[in-house]
Subunit: 459 residues, 2 copies
């Protein structure tokens, strides 16, 4: 029994109001609320039976709209968790009170991933309104730990692999090249995250009384970090690049088709200059190159003015983005080993491993040469056609710099490839203040999703 | 008219209850309370007229106990402000609720500088109780900005230099070598504090979508900081060591007399190893060598777990401890210039100067060969005698690693040298959690102060 006409944009706003920050233990109410809201939505509008699968972390929401076992089976993947909202003072509107302005909805999760997930829920709900017996089985697999490394989803998939294995995964958690340049993502980078803590004196010391013979943990950390890139901008971890596979010719051609508007990109990010590692151009380094980034550093006095101490400790959060055929766990081990070997004198070191995921590549059937009559191939073809119609341009087939590490697990455990339709834009501020969703792109993408669902149904 | 018998230890505790953190704009109530408490104390127990001199920052409290212009005039210097109390969770007792346990009083300011200042207030109050016409003029000059660089005291001294110029300055804001090893400090290091902020993208970026061509401000800051010391532990700022004057022979002999208990010191601080700059031993590097320390570093995500961003900025607080004949402002300029010249590519730089002060040396009359009949010489001699009596050991005459930059201004503006009697101990945790005062040392030092006041009176 389906409910009244589905209002997709209102649903995005309602979903965003739950501050479901998976990294923040104090955000439990937001997580719980998002789970309840999503479950109700899938029941009321997508004809689903919903199971909330508990994990040692945040639960996985599985909505199943079954049917004839002969019908194609599409698995929609998404995540209901969001990034932390800080720095709060840089938001123009409260992160969990969505506001629509000039055709954009602002709020944490609008672009990553509550809005994009809603594209496929809305398209399916609309089709069910028109065709209650729509002949596609749909499973909505929505996790609450994507922003903290999807640590428990693989175990859930292992436990339920029979019922979760469908024809392909449909998902939107990637970026478009621009508002008129829809992008079907053909690859994502892997991720390896860790944290390094250096400890010196047992507590903060007076920098005058004791300063001289004591190794300052911040100095030690700076030395350690400074050694992780060489003068050419390349990562100095032994073996880091060994598994890196060069980009394919058609990938380079697609990237070249985007143009090379470095100045516009520089302005978008607001950086004074780009600094690329040797061997990569500006856009190549995002799509085809691995990175080692510092996500946060802290140590000593953080308040106003000065406080003349030698801090007891200093720490840094590091994440590496990985490209085929680097492997997350292997890189984590290489980085760990190299950093341990370089522990500066006068401090002790602790390393915490946060998460790791492998990079991912999926070739669209028309580029890979595989058969064109599978549900997956029909979906890719429909996406290509409807993008041309709705956006006025053919889709870009590009590898993206971000990571959805769970896609490798989906392939390994459930044997499915993914069709990744971009919904967010380069200036959607994913993971940043003032995250936003273009409602025009949201509507266009919903039409593309409808076309995909219909093409899958049409055997 | 003097009030009832002065209870010195209760007065320290009452003084500590005012959370007078000069660096913290939200601590105004604590600052105001400390000023009121101190003013009342000086009026009631030290026979003073009190003037609270406003400044652009925190006021200076001046208590004057006048008398016959022929009487010697001692100026007691101290400060009523304290260091910030963080990290709060490392305190065993609340920082502004003093607790006495096993002969030690715990609380922020017990050792720096509310307890030590109270030594001289208590000694003078006691003498006035016994001798209401005690023939010494006393001025208590107590500032509220010592922990933030004494930025306004020099102007107050300039404005009131006639009335503030006495025979010498008596002060306790320095350390003893141990509970039985009173120390009369013969020199202090200067200080040059600044903060460096590096900015990259205009806001935090998704490290996947944009990672590759963007210089991470934390990486840039690590590179910058790592270059400020060479492999031998020496500061690489051009000209940094040019003005450094070698220690005198008697200074080296006094330091050697302390022994060289490196293992005990290592254990006290809890460091795995000492790392000294080339050319200095462990204790020499504190007393005779300059430093460049990092007091705090921050940038990017500070919360639990991971957040995969490239931060918009990163910053570090730097302070240099200086030795004769380095000059605070000159070193600040050298450091500023060298850091600006090394700004990494891909970021912009802002440098904020916090404060600067020159190092200070004072030779005790029996070591300098100057006349022994001045009020100052009588005070030094009395301190030497009473330390032997109260502590059972002769005093140590040592240069200390800390800084009281205002002493150079006092000498320049008011023409006075300082007698610095240590009250704090190496494990008093000045500037650290669990700051404490040995009440036994406090009582011994109060006797030494009484002997000093009496010797000054006895022409």
């Amino acid at each position: 029994m389906l409910a009244a006409m589905f209002d997709a944009e209102k649903a995005v706003a309602d979903f965003v109001r739950f501050g479901s920050v998976s990294a923040d233990p104090s955000a439990k109410a937001g997580m719980d609320g998002a789970v309840r809201f999503l479950s109700e939505l899938l029941r009321r509008h997508c004809g689903c039976e919903v199971e909330v699968v508990p994990t040692p972390g945040h639960p996985v929401v599985i909505g199943r709209r079954g049917g004839d076992p002969a019908w194609p089976h599409v698995v929609v993947y998404g995540h209901y968790d969001v990034q932390p909202q800080d720095p709060l003072d840089e938001w123009n509107t409260p992160p969990f009170e969505p506001v629509v302005k000039n055709g954009f909805m602002y709020g944490r999760g609008t672009a990553d991933d509550k809005g994009p997930l809603m594209v496929h829920i809305a398209a399916f709900a609309k089709l069910l309104e028109a065709y209650p017996d729509f002949p596609v089985r749909a499973t909505f697999l929505v996790e609450g730990e994507e922003e903290v490394g999807s640590v428990n989803l693989a175990a859930v998939m292992e436990a339920k692999k029979e019922e979760l294995a469908g024809d392909f995964v449909l998902m939107s958690d990637t970026n478009n090249a621009g508002p008129d340049d829809a992008t079907i993502t053909t690859g994502l980078r892997g991720l390896a995250c860790l944290e390094v803590i250096l400890r010196g004196p047992k507590q903060d010391l007076h920098s005058g009384i004791n300063g001289g013979p004591v190794m300052n943990p911040i100095r030690a950390l700076a030395k350690l970090c400074a050694g992780l890139h060489d003068e050419k901008g390349r990562v100095t971890i032994p073996g880091f690049y060994d598994a890196v596979r060069p980009a394919l010719d058609w990938e380079k051609a697609e990237l070249a088709r985007m143009g090379d508007n470095v100045e516009a990109y520089k302005k978008l990010l607001g950086v004074p200059a780009f600094v690329t590692p040797e061997g990569y151009g500006v856009f190549e380094s995002r799509s085809f190159g691995p990175t080692l980034e510092y996500n946060g550093i802290t140590g000593g006095y953080q308040g106003p003015g000065s406080k003349t101490i030698i801090p007891a400790k200093a720490s840094v959060k590091i994440s590496c983005r990985l490209v085929p055929d680097q492997e997350g766990e292997a890189i984590l081990d290489l980085v760990d080993k190299a950093i341990r070997a370089r522990c500066p004198q006068g401090v002790t070191m602790e390393i915490i491993h946060h998460s790791a995921g492998d990079p991912y590549v999926v070739l669209p059937p028309h580029l890979s040469g595989e058969g064109l009559d599978s549900a997956k191939a029909r979906a890719f073809a429909a996406a290509d056609r409807e993008v041309r119609a709705s956006f006025g341009n053919p889709p870009h087939y590009l590898r993206e710099g971000g990571s959805v590490p769970i896609l490798s697990d989906i392939r390994r455990i459930l044997g499915m490839d993914a069709l990744m339709l971009g919904v967010a834009l380069p200036d959607s501020c994913m993971h940043s203040p003032n995250e936003n969703l273009s409602l025009e792109v949201f509507r266009r993408c919903t039409k593309v999703s409808e076309a995909i669902w219909k093409a899958v149904a049409r055997k």
